[in-house]
């Protein structure tokens, strides 16, 4: 078989040509960086993917049920399945969304579910990303280039073509479109994921807009053409977070949002993808309860596995956390992007004492997890294969039906001693092959 790794430089050169970058702010300065691509793919065989697909569909369906319920009837709280403080103390819970039902019952249209595989082969869900999960564009563009660079590889292996992501996304947008154009709302050029915003706009035939392009008139969302003509917007795939979405309803100082867009959404005159308020469901504290949600809403056993998780909020879990402090990882629920993740055994005595005091003072703010010894995946470094930690972000699109994209973003750490794979912390990415048989 042709070795695709031999073409890694050529593929990375092409990725540079097409501006496949992400932006980071360092020392107050914006910089665009190429996202390093490693040509050794993650390979998931058909049977394994079938299991993941089933589990992810079930999980996202339950999460969508939760989002509908939590802003309306709150049955899951009333029935004592989730303690109310985990919902209402969550920074992702938006009181403004109370009573709002997302169009067609879908609040999380595009869900990015992060998984790792343990050495015994078990897949664990690390977190659910239901706000603005990014990353699909990278394996999408890389696949096209890999096929060009090493056609033999794709002739000889039965690899499911992943280049249908834009069609899936377009279908998802069309499903909830309230009448008008599809637009992708970006905070602008200096956002970390701007490449993705503009690339997906190109591929889905959506109009790429910033907040200043959009305006509300008589409860309808529009943008202005250059000749002054008004064009109605039916669906907004927004890539800005809830708090900045609408200065009239959320953070008043936001200059990247659209005044009154949330009011238009509440009236059902535009779809917002993903719906505002989803942060309550991907909160690290709520994560603990997802298997219970599956049971509660669907009456089924949860297929996917959570990493063994402990909530210091519960006295017995607090005891476990204190007893096993050096063997666990502690996560601050308010942090994201790989920040706020602390391994107990890496702390000095003073740091450990400080953190324990903080956990005791604010138990709701932290979760603890057993460290999963997840499998290493080889990457090429200076011409040699070396093992590195890697996760997988699977993308689940919910429209008329729930579809798991037959690929995903595999991110890896370039640091041999690190479990943190985030691009913002120097990681790279791989293509994810799903085999058809």
């Amino acid at each position: 078989m042709h070795d695709i790794c031999k073409e890694a430089d050529a593929i990375n050169e092409q990725l540079a040509r097409y501006g496949v970058k992400f932006g980071i702010y360092k020392n107050g300065e914006f910089r665009e960086q190429l996202f390093p691509f490693d040509a050794i793919p993650r390979i998931i065989d058909a049977e394994e993917f079938e299991y993941l697909e089933k589990g992810l569909k079930q999980r996202v369906t339950a999460l969508n049920c939760f989002l509908q319920d939590i802003y309306t009837d709150k049955k899951i709280v009333k029935d004592g399945v989730i303690p109310p403080e985990f919902v209402y103390a969550s920074s992702g819970y938006l009181p403004q969304c109370e009573g709002v039902r997302a169009p067609k019952g879908v609040a999380s249209h595009i869900s990015g579910i992060d998984l790792v595989q343990a050495k015994d082969g078990t897949w664990y869900i690390l977190e659910d990303n239901l706000r603005v999960p990014s990353g699909a564009s990278y394996p999408l563009i890389a696949r096209g280039l890999c096929r060009r660079a090493s056609p033999e590889t794709f002739r000889e292996r039965k690899i499911v073509d992943n280049r249908d992501y834009a069609q899936l996304l377009r279908r998802t947008m069309d499903h909830v479109n309230a009448g008008g154009d599809n637009v992708i709302l970006t905070p602008g050029r200096y956002n970390a994921a701007f490449f993705e915003h503009s690339y997906l706009a190109e591929l889905t035939g959506s109009v790429l807009v910033t907040g200043s392009d959009l305006f509300v008139e008589d409860d309808i969302l529009y943008y202005n053409g250059m000749g002054g003509e008004k064009r109605r917007v039916g669906a907004v795939y927004r890539r800005i977070s809830d708090e900045y979405l609408d200065p009239m309803n959320f953070l008043p100082e936001s200059v990247i949002g659209v005044p009154h867009i949330f009011d238009v959404f509440k009236k059902g005159n535009v779809a917002i993808i993903n719906a505002p308020g989803n942060g309550v469901a991907d909160d690290k504290g709520i994560y603990y309860f997802v298997p219970k949600m599956v049971q509660y809403y669907l009456g089924e056993e949860c297929i996917t596995h959570n990493a063994p998780t402990y909530l210091p909020y519960y006295p017995e879990d607090m005891k476990y956390v204190l007893d096993k402090f050096d063997e666990i990882v502690i996560k601050d629920v308010a942090e994201a992007g790989g920040y706020g993740v602390v391994f107990g055994n890496k702390l000095t005595k003073a740091e450990k004492e400080n953190l324990i005091a903080l956990i005791k003072a604010e138990p709701r703010r932290f979760i603890a997890q057993d460290v999963i010894d997840f499998i290493d995946i080889d990457i090429m470094e200076n011409g040699e294969r070396v093992p590195r930690k890697a996760d997988l972000r699977a993308f689940v699109l919910t429209g008329e039906d729930v579809t798991v994209w037959k690929s995903g973003l595999t991110r890896f750490s370039r640091n041999p001693d690190s479990f943190i794979v985030n691009s913002s912390q120097g990681g790279g990415f791989k293509d994810t092959w799903v085999l058809s048989r």
Partner: protein
């Protein structure tokens, strides 16, 4: 697909202008480089006058380095190329990844030239990428209006530079005539009074370069 927003029309117009500015000034820079080898070491001073930029340079070598590659020099070729890139990068959804790639490659080649032992050879790649960029615009962009706006920007910039250079009147008139259909295709609102004045100054038996330049600056002021 929807319609072009006002901001996007602006980006497309300036993408056309800056990419043309790089293309034309790069040719001038390469010709000047050649002249300064052995004919006229101070030729860069005349270039500054022609380009209507302040002569902040201390020597020929300083000019060749800073005017070519210094991102801190507002008038440098790399600064203009960066502006072309800044306008292109936000237009990926309209012009396409393939087209945008040529501007990206022009930036890489310009950076490579700045550290090359044979910069003039490297700069040819920048020219090649810009020409390929315009070829890609014709080949890949379906939107008549999008192409029209970009090409209108390109033609306005070339006319602007040729007027500043006091280029041969026939060449200026040819450039002016090539701009006219692009103005219509762009569907941008045009200041007809300025257009009429531009025509008068350019078609006059004795070309009025300064008058034409002033009129050109007003054609989008409506």
């Amino acid at each position: 697909m929807g319609v072009i927003t006002v901001d996007k029309a602006d980006h497309l117009y300036w993408l056309g202008r800056y990419s043309e500015r790089v293309y034309t000034t790069l040719k001038l820079y390469c010709d000047g480089y050649d002249s300064m080898l052995d004919a006229d070491e101070d030729f860069y001073k005349k270039l500054c006058v022609m380009l209507d930029i302040p002569n902040i340079y201390t020597s020929r070598d300083d000019f060749l380095q800073r005017y070519g590659y210094d991102r801190q020099d507002y008038n440098s070729i790399i600064s203009n190329l960066t502006r072309a890139y800044d306008n292109a990068i936000v237009m990926r959804d309209e012009i396409g990844t393939e087209t945008l790639g040529y501007i990206q490659m022009a930036v890489y080649s310009m950076d490579a030239a700045s550290v090359s032992s044979a910069p003039m050879i490297q700069l040819q790649k920048v020219v090649d990428h810009l020409l390929a960029f315009w070829g890609c615009v014709d080949d890949q962009i379906d939107g008549y209006c999008i192409r029209g706006i970009m090409k209108f920007g390109k033609r306005v910039e070339r006319l602007d530079l040729y007027l500043r250079f006091h280029m041969d009147p026939n060449e200026v008139r040819r450039t002016y005539r090539r701009m006219l259909p692009r103005a219509r295709e762009s569907q941008l609102p045009i200041n007809q009074t300025a257009m009429d004045a531009l025509k008068r100054y350019i078609e006059a038996p004795e070309m009025d370069y300064e008058g034409a330049l002033s009129a050109l600056l007003e054609i989008l002021n409506v």
